[in-house]
Point group: C2
Chain length 150, copies 2
């Protein structure tokens, strides 16, 4: 068993997944860089960019760009937070609400493609292991970032 295999598979799957997502969501005008934010806003109407960024674990700069694009496409709108004028809250538009079920269906479809040939037990185990890896690697990245600030 090769020691570097986990990372290589993750990379390969990620890139192919992005290609697939881009094809699926081409019809909506967005791609792999935006869909996750749209989904997250639909589950947390009124969320601000900082929270979004933490939820999806993507850099604030890219969160900002994704929001801008979704807004321009008409799927979301944003309003200034009255309590804290630095913050902007994001909401789904009617157009956004309409496509959410379709987007969720497409994502389920993609997941089904990826998990083809796995039984429920394997899928559950896989999710547990991926969750653990994410926790481990995020902790390490945080430590590196802290080290730099020393």
């Amino acid at each position: 068993m090769k020691l570097d295999s986990i990372g290589r598979y993750i990379s390969s799957i990620y890139r192919h997944q992005s290609i697939l997502i881009n094809k699926y969501f081409e019809k909506y005008g967005f791609g792999s860089g935006q869909y996750i934010f749209l989904i997250n806003i639909s589950k947390n109407e009124g969320i601000n960019q900082k929270q979004l960024s933490e939820n999806v674990k993507i850099d604030r700069a890219n969160t900002n760009r994704a929001i801008k694009k979704l807004e321009k496409l008409g799927y979301i709108y944003t309003v200034e937070d009255k309590e804290d004028r630095r913050s902007r809250k994001s909401f789904l538009t009617e157009k956004g609400k309409e496509i959410i079920p379709l987007v969720i269906k497409d994502l389920a479809n993609i997941t089904e493609i990826m998990a083809q040939g796995m039984d429920d037990n394997q899928r559950e185990k896989l999710l547990e292991l991926l969750q653990l890896i994410e926790k481990n690697i995020m902790l390490e990245v945080d430590n590196i970032r802290k080290d730099k600030c020393k």
Copy 2:
């Protein structure tokens, strides 16, 4: 269990992995976009770009750019294939051979960080499942590409 979880974990892990890899290999002057090619050349001296591209499953354009960068940094050199002058073979330089064991050690370290808290059985299961996902998603991407050429 959320249906879109596998993809979300894959994305998050990939991005954090890239950050980690960039930190680890900063000292050599390359990052997440090149290391995989260096490793692959070390295991297949004389390989050409087409083969490399297929091995690491990265687009030929990026394979070309990675090779150029590794060559510029002095870790590899390339020579025209006498049998087929379109093709260029890649080899490690002495400088390249020197760092390979260190790069492999770093990669093992990163894998160890990611797999922390897993026993051997879990690691093996994980690799099997990742391998299956990669197979599934590559097949799907290939089908999409074929469809387009019809």
